[in-house]
């Protein structure tokens, strides 16, 4: 059974896309268009949320309804999401539990399911789970130098909405393999950089990003039904306490044998405040960079990356 019209569901941060597909929706992560955007919002703190808010209000992003992740992860989204809602877009506010309470998350997922019109295609849970398994394989190939970090990032970050089309997305996962020298293995933690060529820039400076913290979360969680999704997504690190996230990071960085960590921070994002804690807890040379507006990686950021490579080469 196919609907004549599939609703396009905007999402402001990670919302289980498997549930949206199962409810016959087409997930669309509004952040995915920001790095290539030429939109300079008038009233902004963080450019990520300000740009999608402005584009939504002006109807430059065509969606039928919006899910705002208002609890856990992004704080600015709570206000910018309300501005989008006030402009007339049907909006649902989704809250992750800070303490990982599975029952709370399950109740949130049921509310979301009602907003989306309830589950019509339960098999989509398993379809998405299978694709995420392929995503983790891609991540592993990057870790072993079989595919470039920019290619791996491009795919992993797309797992937030799986391009809104599972068949199209499955075809996009077919990547040519090669052999990439893994000098200067670094992890990229924090929110993804707002620059569309950041991974290429790092690669050109001989820094190999072998871990993308947030995109890895996009392939890490899944489930065959709402209960399993709740069980797994309650470990979504960005919505949890710093201790929880740091413990996960420590294991992941060790497993991936990284030599250094790049902490990307976004201007006026509350995650900036985490930098000193991450520096104190993660025992690696760390470079903190901060971006503001989208575009190409600025020269000043490239200088920092190059100097960081020199640090790694000396240590």
């Amino acid at each position: 059974m196919h609907r004549a019209h599939v609703s396009k569901i905007g999402m402001t941060a990670l919302v289980p896309p498997e549930l949206i597909f199962a409810c016959a929706g087409e997930p669309f992560d509004v952040n995915n268009i920001i790095p290539a955007s030429k939109n300079y919002p008038k009233n902004k703190l963080c450019a990520w949320t300000a740009i999608w808010r402005e584009m939504l209000v002006k109807r430059e992003i065509k969606i039928d309804s919006l899910i705002v992740v208002a609890g856990g992860d992004c704080h600015n989204a709570l206000v910018d999401g309300q501005k989008a809602a006030m402009s007339g877009i049907p909006t649902h506010f989704f809250f992750y539990p800070f303490d990982g309470d599975v029952q709370y998350l399950e109740s949130q997922l049921h509310k979301l399911s009602s907003f989306l019109g309830n589950i019509e295609y339960p098999e989509k849970f398993r379809d998405v789970k299978a694709l995420k398994k392929l995503g983790r394989k891609i991540d592993n190939k990057r870790l072993n130098g079989k595919i470039s970090s920019s290619e791996a990032f491009r795919i992993l970050v797309s797992f937030s909405d799986l391009m809104g089309d599972l068949d199209r997305f499955r075809n996009a996962l077919d990547i040519k393999e090669g052999n990439i020298a893994l000098n200067n293995r670094v992890a990229l933690i924090g929110v993804p950089p707002i620059y569309h060529d950041f991974h290429e820039a790092a690669q050109s400076l001989d820094l190999q990003i072998v871990f993308d913290e947030l995109p890895y979360e996009f392939v890490r969680h899944s489930g065959d039904d709402i209960n399993e999704v709740a069980l797994d997504y309650c470990n979504y690190t960005f919505a949890r306490s710093l201790d929880f996230r740091i413990e996960f990071l420590q294991k992941e960085l060790e497993k991936r044998k990284v030599e250094g960590v790049i902490h990307y921070t976004q201007f006026a994002c509350h995650h900036v405040l985490e930098d000193e804690i991450l520096r104190a807890k993660l025992d690696y040379p760390m470079l903190t960079i901060q971006g503001d507006l989208p575009g190409k990686t600025p020269q000043q950021i490239k200088l920092r990356l190059e100097a960081f490579r020199e640090v790694l080469e000396r240590s």
Binding site: R279, L287, T288, Q300, L303, R304, E306, A307, E310, V311
Partner: protein, 237 residues
């Protein structure tokens, strides 16, 4: 730079946003030359590309055998004078870099002119003075007005208000040095000793204000402007 006919030397070339510097070591002695960035070619007349180690903002644009970022060059250059240096503050014309040598961390202010040499240049230009002159006038101030604005443009308006309120030119200049030094101090981590380098630190008034605010040991190499060029040379060798 004295001619050393018939002998080839490696040189460190630092081409920054406002000045270009060249360093070579001849019989154990450091020789250097400084000019405006636009004249950088004058510094390398007759020098072969294979003998140049470049650094600075334009390090990739000038001929070089090898290049190194100014952040790494600063560490190698400072080490020559102060092997135990923990924190280096490089105040240049267009940016300020704070390098925490121990933790391999560096903070760069390149978004806002208030913490760079450009800020003090605004002040000097306003009074139609040279940069070194405002550094000397600082010490003639009898009292120091509070200039609280952290934005370069607004600080200039505040400076004018203080002049209208009756503060002398020397006092207002000292106030601006304190405003600048306070801004820099926010970037400096906990440490006992700080090494200052870069063209702007030749301003004695600003250094005095920074010393007063930080209450730490402040060390400076004999010629703070050529440290990165020296560091490039040392890095390579």
């Amino acid at each position: 730079m004295p001619s050393k006919a018939g002998r080839r030397f490696m040189i460190g070339l630092d081409v920054g946003s406002t000045t270009a510097k060249i360093v070579r070591i001849v019989d154990g002695e450091i020789e250097y030359q400084i000019t405006g960035t636009h004249n950088w070619k004058e510094l390398v007349k007759g020098v072969k590309k294979e003998d140049i180690i470049s650094t600075g903002y334009f390090r990739h644009s000038v001929p070089h055998r090898a290049s190194v970022t100014e952040i790494t060059a600063a560490q190698f250059g400072v080490k020559h004078y102060f092997p135990e240096a923990e924190v280096i503050v490089d105040i240049g014309g267009q940016d300020t870099k704070v390098i925490d040598v121990k933790s391999n961390n560096f903070i760069i202010n390149d978004r806002c002119s208030a913490g760079t040499g450009a800020f003090l240049e605004f002040v000097a230009n306003y009074f139609k003075l040279e940069l070194n002159e405002i550094g000397t006038l600082h010490f003639q101030a009898k009292r120091i007005p509070d200039i609280n604005n952290t934005c370069g443009v607004f600080a200039i308006s505040e400076m004018i208000s203080q002049l209208v309120a009756g503060y002398s030119k020397e006092e207002v200049i000292a106030g601006m040095h304190y405003a600048f030094a306070r801004r820099i101090s926010f970037m400096i981590p906990e440490t006992e000793t700080i090494v200052l380098i870069g063209g702007t630190v030749k301003n004695e008034g600003m250094v005095s204000a920074l010393r007063d605010i930080l209450k730490k040991d402040i060390l400076m190499p004999p010629e703070p402007q050529i440290v990165n060029a020296l560091g490039a040379l040392k890095y390579y060798s």
